[in-house]
Symmetry: D3
Subunit: 293 residues, 6 copies
């Protein structure tokens, strides 16, 4: 019986997740706001779990074609991990009475924990629909892990960036060191900010290819992010989802592998009705509309 | 506050999952029995979701060091996907009234579905603790997808195997085609059973390296599987978990990558107390005991 | 204007290629016979060019679902490269008066030549439809390069195999050394036959997984090969083509890559009518028929 | 009997290919001009087949050491695929009466088609001799697929770039999405132009590393491209061919793989006479000459 | 001034390394005997350093074309690591008073140590000339790490094998877990012996493809190994070195990568005089001789 | 008996290596100065051997946390290979009387030589502690091979760069062609400087991401390099060593591989005392001190 149905389609419940506001400012555009401004949007465990849950759900939500990610309040996109909370919970691997625990067992528990944490952040990268991060203020540590998973990045001129982890005695492990060489071709700069934990400016980030635009204020940065989202949301979602997937896939693999995967991806996708609609609209000089995805 | 705790440790709730019996026949050994014998243990959707959930949980369960996987009843390990049920739900991509759906959208829904299905089966391979599949009777299609994710395989002489998918018009997509060349070095045989969907015998499977042992009856096969589990469960869990991980990792990658990962894995793991306990027990000719993991 | 057409469909010209007989012994089965029996089917340049052309064409021929590859005459599948001819043409890199040529230039010319030669043989592996090699008599050097590109291999008991290249002073470069570790899991045996150039028997080849079956005579080997081809040709070509592609792809890559490619391959393929036809035929206990591919 | 000869050396026939002008403006420099100016050099099928044929032949032509690629007429390098022609021929997967075709079969035909199309464009990247693209005017869609295969890129200030495919409902599949992350390290910019299909300027392209130079006019851009070609053509072709190959190889693979391949490449190449000639010319302060390759 | 010289050629000093006998039982054949029979040839640190030094030197020794590796005395090839010595030196990561050391620092020291140890054993695999391991008696732990680096393996029927590491609380880290899936295609057996540390017999090892031959006694196994070495040593060293390199390279990489590397390797190598000598000798029915390498 | 000791810790002998000055200008900072200013710091064989030895030793030296690399004298970082010396020793593969040598044997000797040379330069990249190259004056050929192995690069405005190798008839083989696409995202520029051997300026190098800073004079460049070293040396060495390792590892591999390796690396490393010290110092607003590594 019946045509194949995507299970996500039936979900009608609102997006309510602690420490996040999820709104829909425009057709097919979702806006995810990190919302713990009194702590500079610093992350505690429930937040990264929620972050992962939100983007996993947005990925398949047929009402979503692009996602804007911002931080609440005037001061920070996010100051990163809430280190104080983390050190109390043992998340940092540092524990005052941990000495009696077997090192190997503790290592495995930590590994499981890092992997779960990574998976929550990677959910942004795996979200089928493109994500635009619009940053301002403190954007430290985990803030960069998160931003580098987005597809496009814009920032207010007032943003201050830093890969903070070295300053708390650890090599960053939620993804920034892995993704950094893939989102900037300025290797000397990348190593410098990773190894020194120094602050860097939006101008430097723009120059290194980490950003698409720098805007004077947070409001303008968020508006620019929204504009990009709207533009993406106006396109065929089949084309957009495929484009994100193919660029991400190819970035990580040899050219021949990318081309091979592309042909297999498109052998079915190109049969979409969207091509006909897009071509017809082009001829008729009107804006095409596309079915949900 | 205090030492790092693995969240899974606190779980006390019983393993109750529809269509599965999960028991603990021996210290540190779990036994997962596929339990839909009236339908030859054929899988419907809730079953593969439960399969994934069970192995994901066993992976981190400190009371588990080895897992035995079998099928209930005298007739089948599992006859594979319940094709009748699947064709009704549209899972096979075949739907009587699906023609009005856009091909690209339907493709993406199917892709999401295959990936979820694959992930449930891959949970067996990702389970940190070794898994032994003890098979008997019909072991078709999905039955092989599942069995190839186990670490060790034994079978009753009465088992009949088949990669059935070609006979229902599809290339198998839940993993058997991917894992087949990695669990047998007999490439001509592997291609033959994949391309022809012919039945093959335990003797052929043994010869091709797909099995470790063939036993006369189901009971003996299950007993042999349990014996292997007990043996593994008597070893240091740190050593066992590491061994599974390193073999799986290296199987898929160049030698130098395997060696590099090995040294990074062991730089911490080798600091375990288990080494001291194992060495001491060896000197004292007694059976060592190891902390939970 | 109209539906997308595969260009190969329109070709009606007969398969006539020097030194090869191409026949169609059964519906959807092509039989390619290497035909230079007076020289033990040894290859000269036109032959490997023709070999490549034939398999490239069979790959897209809608009347072909499986291919049998054999050697004409009672004495050889193929004795390999016609070394005498090759050494006269300079193909082996050996030339009596070549000293005046610049080494780098000569190297590049040789490289282009090896790559062209490899591509002709690889055409068998790239042929979308499965290929069965049925061997007998001398099967040396290039004979193994070719046979290892097939999907299934059977041989007469009278076959004698040898990777001859070491005996003429070169490391085999048309593929046997690359494919050998991928078609047998007996590494010590593989190295031995590659390094010593010794003859080996069908029994040894069977044991090492290089063969699916050994038959007493050439006729029986060819008949077995044909039987396998007919069996494959009776299945859904969509399922068969996908199965060959997915096994070959996965053999060469990590498990996760194989699974990912599989889901993208099947998201479109599984929408084929063949599933419905196969299921219906199964219910009605009759042989399904499938559209050409 | 004879030293090894490269077959391409004997070819004397002129380069005459429909829709292309191939000239030799300077010693060892070929100039390929896309020539369908009345249609903004938009591509129809015969053109990409010819493009592939031309570069495959230039690759081995001993009279060629560098290739300049430009578009005829004042208005466009190329406006990309001739979408009107393509949609009529069914190339885009969109066909008004295609509904009766089996999706899987149509998918495979499309896959074969995409792969053939990709191969024609990849011929530029695989051309042993370096290629310089000098662009002006409309450079859309396929124009970027092509330009990203070149080794060096220059553009007139009047060039307008766009990855158009999203606007016709498809993810670009002839290579631009695969090569984009490999030719620019500005990931946010790359995703933006791929996902939004917006126009971008030569200045943006220069900043993102897609271009080496921006010149005021088409003539100056072409002159700059020719200057680069002449400079490359004045060097040892052994050194030049090796340099292109090693950079392309290494770009796609881990550092250790690149170093290993480099040593095997150069173990023979470095024995060339060109080293002696280059060193001697250096000492004697004169321009070296090198044998053809 | 003059032709390029391989530095290793000038070395005339004898191969004297503590705990090893290095002899030359036949032209171009070296015999390395592990010589600490009173301790079952168990390894202490100086031994693996010497093992690495010996094979690194043999690799470039022009008087060597094949290497036989055996264990002295009647009882063991090698019983593996001398665990008693290792635990005293802290090599196993286990130390009674290590608790005051920082875990991360200790981890890095251990990593450096494992990598050095791995490199010594990998020297066998990297030795340009083929290596035959002829085993007898106890062949445990490190014994298998070493044997799996050899190209061919033979054993006496009295050999007893075991991957012992799990029994001392660690995952084996000197290479056996990495190489095991690459030298046998019997995955279930491989996992079983790795996870259970059980003894296995030469018959099982032969069946799984770990061995080429099983001989009744140590003397016969050594004689068979020597016979294989002599056979290899009678071939063109250019062909032999290339064959080992190409099989090892391809085993670890996709088919296309293997073919590409092969063509680049042979573009120079095939220009060797050995081809002419081998062909001439073939015509003249006499044994060819080849220059040193 | 006792805790595991890193062997490098006991070395007290001074760093005295011909043609290099190794000093310690600041706590935990080593300064390596290439010292053959009368020859523009051009390299002869003993120099690259010494370079490798120095960095291999610095890598494990517990008194070193960052390394500055500069060239002595006012005129050059290094003019690269001393071509005159190299051509006399046959290193360039060019030898006046080499014609009687077998090409394959000579190729293998050259391969061994290139690999040894590469390994010496790669020692900089493999050095666990970060390396800053501060360049001035002539920085040609090998100078860039070396500089691209450093983690951060600064240069005086007077520096002139060139990848010279094409001008002496060879494709650069000591690493620059492999690393170039990994340290700059400006592909067109990278190909241009590699293929044309033209001089390029610090401004161009800065723009392409090859440099972090350009300073007016050599002294200022060296001072800036030292400042970066001091900053890195003030951080936790556990965090710094991990950061370098994880960026380098991830740069060369897919994102998922990078994340996986990261979690395994940090499962042990994060247990370091340095986290506690860093956090405590942060709270107390004082500079942390860390144990040696």
């Amino acid at each position: 019986m019946g045509s194949f149905k995507d299970p996500s389609k039936s979900s009608k419940e609102p997006y309510s997740y602690e420490y996040f506001n999820v709104t829909f400012p425009s057709e097919y555009v979702a806006h995810v706001e990190i919302n713990r401004p009194e702590k500079l949007n610093a992350f505690i465990e429930v937040m990264w779990l929620n972050l992962g849950a939100i983007f996993t759900r947005l990925s398949h939500d047929p009402n979503v074609r692009a996602v804007l990610l911002t931080g609440a309040g005037p001061r920070a996109f996010t100051a990163g991990l809430d280190v104080q909370a983390a050190s109390q919970s043992g998340v940092l691997g540092d524990s005052s009475d941990g000495s009696e625990q077997d090192i190997a067992r503790k290592s495995l528990y930590i590994k499981r924990h890092i992997e779960e944490f990574q998976a929550c952040v990677t959910a942004i990268e795996k979200c089928e629909k493109p994500v635009v991060a619009a940053m301002h203020g403190h954007t430290y540590g985990l803030g960069l892990d998160i931003a580098l998973c987005a597809d496009m990045r814009v920032a207010a001129a007032t943003t201050s960036f830093s890969i903070k982890e070295v300053d708390i005695g650890i090599a960053a492990d939620i993804g920034v060191l892995t993704r950094l060489p893939k989102v900037t071709g300025h290797a000397s700069f990348a190593k410098e900010i990773a190894l020194t934990a120094r602050m860097f400016t939006p101008a430097e980030a723009l120059n290194a290819g980490l950003l698409s635009y720098v805007l004077p204020t947070k409001d303008e940065a968020v508006a620019k992010g929204l504009e990009l989202c709207k533009l993406v949301a106006s396109k065929s979602p089949v084309a957009v989802v495929g484009t994100k997937e193919l660029v991400n896939y190819s970035r990580d693999r040899p050219t021949e592998e990318g081309l091979k995967y592309t042909s297999v991806w498109n052998m079915g996708m190109i049969q979409t009705e969207d091509v006909k609609r897009a071509l017809m609209s082009g001829l008729q000089k009107r804006k095409p509309t596309f079915e949900k995805l």
